[in-house]
């Protein structure tokens, strides 16, 4: 389970309005033969969340930072010191300029080399879909009343690719093997975060559809993002016939009129807080001092006011 750090040319898309589904046409870019234009949603929606916190976080950790796009966009009022961790040494050596003092640590997200209760803020962007669950460890390194913000690829990402390959392999070879990793469903995310000990959860989902000329461009783009199949039990080759069949099925099932095919990426956003006494708690049972029966009296003017 390792990223290939050669492919670290990343194209960053920024947008500030959250839309439920965005169509980004990379068709023209590929026609112009610009190599390795990768849609890599990293920072921007995460940053809009951070502007809601009217707090300064003295010590922050960014897990799986890549070339630290997050650090580039942070400012001093929000975070005072930033730790960047990534599995790939090359990415850490090519981190972007930031106005905040940063420290780079090469670490696997499953084995974070930090003590408990260290950080005020931990962020994860698009790197923990390999992990079964990084959340308990993250909860451990957070201080009480610290916050965890994450963006993760999940849900129905790349379902078109998965289905096309599955059908093609069934028809051509008689069985199929896993090619697209099983992602966390958005419904499970709340449970996972709760079990890890986070409270006051927020989970949101954003769907991005990117249009490609065909299935091979989808696969080479994924390879460029460093997202090739890395399961231990993966099949080491894909037959020519299967690729041809999958291309035909993808085109037929999901293709649009202009000949392009969509690839869906579902990004799950999550915010969780480590419990602390200062946080709002649900009220105690029996502490209510207003009855539901009084609801009907709202809106009626009281007789005393008529004078």
């Amino acid at each position: 389970v390792r990223w290939d750090s050669k492919w670290s040319v990343i194209c960053l898309l920024t947008w500030h309005s959250k839309t439920l589904s965005m169509k980004i046409v990379t068709f023209m870019a590929l026609l112009l033969k610009l190599k390795f234009i990768f849609v890599h949603v990293r920072v921007c929606n995460l940053l809009t969340f951070w502007t809601y916190f009217h707090r300064t976080f003295p010590l922050a950790l960014d897990i799986g930072c890549g070339k630290s796009h997050i650090a580039e966009h942070l400012h001093k009022e929000l975070v005072e010191q930033l730790f960047l961790t990534d599995i790939s040494e090359k990415s850490l050596r090519n981190t972007r300029e930031s106005e905040i003092p940063t420290h780079c640590v090469m670490a696997d997200e499953e084995f974070l080399p930090f003590k408990e209760n260290t950080f005020d803020l931990v962020s994860v962007s698009l790197c923990c879909h390999y992990n079964p669950s990084p959340f308990p460890k993250i909860n451990q390194v957070l201080k009480p009343d610290g916050v965890f913000i994450g963006a993760m690829v999940g849900g129905e990402t790349l379902y078109e690719l998965r289905c096309s390959l599955q059908l093609a392999e069934l028809e051509r070879e008689g069985g199929f093997s896993p090619h697209v990793s099983p992602y966390t469903a958005v419904t499970d995310l709340g449970n996972l975060l709760g079990q890890a000990g986070f409270s006051m959860l927020t989970v949101d989902i954003d769907e991005i559809q990117v249009h490609y000329p065909g299935i091979l461009e989808v696969m080479s783009d994924l390879q460029g993002m460093g997202e090739s199949n890395c399961a231990w039990n993966r099949k080491s080759m894909l037959h020519r016939d299967t690729i041809l069949a999958a291309a035909a099925i993808y085109q037929e099932m999901y293709g649009s009129e202009n000949g392009s095919v969509p690839a869906t990426f579902e990004i799950l956003y999550m915010i969780g807080w480590k419990p602390h006494d200062s946080q709002a708690k649900p009220a105690k049972r029996g502490s209510a001092n207003v009855s539901f029966g009084d609801l009907s009296k709202i809106g009626q003017p009281s007789t005393k006011d008529k004078s």
Partner: protein, 70 residues
């Protein structure tokens, strides 16, 4: 790696895939329809269920490739 080896040659061949595939869009659509019919109909997808359509697609693809090489 200097010079050409089996990987560079096979990658070069794969790069031609999209243009060759575009020349066989008719056969590809027929094969695609045959397979997708099983997702909605009652017939389950088995090995070689659409072998005739696939062979038509493959011959079209191979002839397009041979034409290009010349």
């Amino acid at each position: 790696m200097s010079g050409t080896n089996v990987w560079t040659r096979s990658r070069e061949r794969m790069r031609r895939f999209p243009e060759l595939f575009a020349q066989c869009s008719g056969e590809a659509a027929v094969y695609g329809k045959c397979v997708t019919a099983t997702t909605t109909g009652r017939q389950e997808l088995r090995k070689d269920l659409c072998v005739k359509e696939f062979n038509a697609l493959k011959t079209c693809f191979v002839t397009a490739a041979k034409k290009g090489v010349k």
